[in-house]
Symmetry: C2
Subunit: 369 residues, 2 copies
């Protein structure tokens, strides 16, 4: 019998619903071509959930997620909800609790230069010509963002603030293992580059020691260490040298964005947040883009590639994941793209709508069957 | 009577002595053309000071610095001293105590794209063509590098480490003032971009508040705030949008290196570390390059531009500083450069030696007189 997977589909706000619709059309094509079934369970999340239920993550939505094999997330937020207090806003009020509830400690952000979009790369032509295919593995639940923090006024009326960064071996070891496993599964350069500032930070020294210890279990994977400041430089000088970048929460926040920028195509980037049981939340790396919402012009490819990551990392449907990624490459190469790519990046192409791109990818998947 | 300035000249190790010699030739030309006198007091520092006296910062050298109007620093360190314990090594044992002794809380790193070296810029041609002229103002004595840090083993044998970031209003206010003053003195875009992560860090919230408060004294200077992760992206997408970047210690460490990289010419970059009394230590942003030391091939321009910063910021000799910067532009445009620039960056030029470049810059200064 075909395996059957329950998918929590949380489209959210802004362009979320329309890119999700295109994405589901692609997933439907995968179900036709490959031997598995997906059962979509839709749930409200973010701003629209606040409007409908008063909460950015209603109890019912959390229950849908608990019963699912994976969460496919659109995007949340918009000017309508910006007046709310920080922890009631769509993003903090939905993504943070979901990460916490499911223990999603690993953020994974691939950044690949699509050959037909080389001219969009903001790096010098000879650097871009070498291409790159990087995945940033970021620790997501520890470090300075979640450490003790506070603020005090001293006797002389002087205000002072502090943030503490704290890591233990277990937190570092589990994210390091994912980095090595990922380098092995990708089978590209088979290299992990661990990012730290071990010349000054105590947490970085423990990070480096722990990563060195874990690397003993992966003799087939090369390990190198790099300081965060040098990493930001090397990503500009020659990104082709990297394969898997292993980072703590803060450094990963920085480098995943820098990697996104050097692809030149922010609308194409998927992301995954995983726990130790391969359960994950999959979402585009970009935002809800309220300015273009509802116009059927948003690029759905980041959402579609997020679904491919879901098939690969949570459902073990690698063939279907490969098929989606191949189909995406094809439609981009043919110029079947939305306005953000069509306008100035690919010659002789007039823009397609969000849904047309979804259909084109779905057809490319079925055509190859 | 001519003003007379005492300069502590600490050439140090590696290429330090040879680039310093070229630099002093340039300063001699300035003395000929302009109305001031420099009195050089040479002191041992770094590895050579360890060899000669047992200490990377001998008492005599510190005394020379105390009696000087400014410190002109070469570079320190090399493989010969790498076996030493961290705090006895040339760099940590000399630069950190000097910063501490003189309260050098402000690090200033200009990063400018030299028009004739545009092809060396690692950014896409159309981005490089817009040029950029940025100065990074980095808080140098606080933040996570100098906060409480430690390591502990818990009952279950689990190791844990922590680093604390702490800032108070006074520390932020004094560095913010320098940023606004610098934007005003430069008279370019008249803009300060303050870098933080105020959406998650308590220290960043205090940073932003304090910078906002100080900005009230500078109504002629535009202020914008940017998150560190977005800053690393914008520096790649369009560095021409920036003028003065104001950063804490960690974020400045990262961004000053990223800015250096996008110039494409790391051998050209000066730096200054200043206190509130305009006393400063001036040094090239690069290292001691032991691999090419003693060969008279190292690029002296970073050292020469550091001397120009010294004239501008500690000695108020702006005309002489301008003359050096102009002369440097001229010799580069004429291709009178060392091998690092000559080989593949400027067409039809055969490399000059370190001392030849120094002479060329000195002559250019005198020729314009
Ligand atoms: Mg980020
Ligand atoms: Mg640095």
């Amino acid at each position: 019998m075909k395996p059957n997977y329950k998918i929590a589909v949380l489209a959210g706000d802004g362009i979320g619903p329309e890119v999700m619709a295109a994405c589901l059309e692609v997933l439907d094509a995968c179900q036709q071509r490959f031997d598995f079934q997906l059962e979509y369970q839709h749930g409200d999340v973010g701003g629209c959930a606040i409007d409908n239920t008063g909460s950015p993550l209603p109890k019912q939505t959390l229950e849908i997620c608990q019963q699912a094999h994976a969460i496919l997330f659109g995007s949340v937020g918009g000017p309508k909800w910006e007046h709310l207090p920080p922890d009631q806003q769509p993003e903090r009020g939905s993504l943070l609790p979901l990460r916490k509830h499911f223990g999603l400690f690993c953020n994974m952000r691939p950044a690949r230069l699509v050959p037909s979009l080389q001219c969009a790369c903001p790096l010098r032509a000879d650097i871009a010509a070498k291409g790159f295919d990087i995945v940033v593995i970021r620790e997501l639940t520890g470090g300075i963002y979640f450490g003790e923090k506070g603020r005090a006024t001293h006797a002389d009326n002087m205000e002072e603030a502090f943030d503490e960064q704290r890591y233990n071996q277990a937190e570092i070891a589990r994210i390091a293992r994912i980095a090595f496993e990922t380098a092995r599964a990708r089978g590209n350069k088979r290299k992990v580059t661990s990012v730290d500032k071990a010349n000054v930070l105590m947490t970085s020294m423990l990070w480096r020691e722990t990563v060195n210890a874990i690397s003993k279990d992966y003799p087939d994977i090369e390990l190198e260490h790099i300081y965060i400041d040098n990493a930001t430089m090397q990503l500009i000088k020659d990104p082709s040298q990297f394969d898997v970048l292993l980072c703590d929460n803060l450094f990963g926040d920085i480098l995943s964005d820098e990697c996104a920028m050097i692809t030149g195509s922010m609308g194409l980037l998927p992301s995954a947040s995983l726990n130790e049981k391969q359960f994950g939340l999959y979402e585009p790396a970009g935002g809800s883009a309220p300015d273009i919402a509802g116009k059927n012009i948003a690029n759905p490819i980041a959402q579609v590639l997020s679904a491919a990551m879901m098939l690969r990392y949570s459902l073990n449907q690698n063939e279907a994941a490969d098929a989606i990624e191949l189909a995406v490459n094809k439609v981009i190469a043919k110029g079947q793209v939305t306005a953000d790519l069509a306008s100035n990046k690919i010659e002789n192409s007039s823009p397609l709508s969000t849904s047309q791109v979804g259909t084109a990818i779905a057809q490319a998947i079925l055509a190859t069957a």
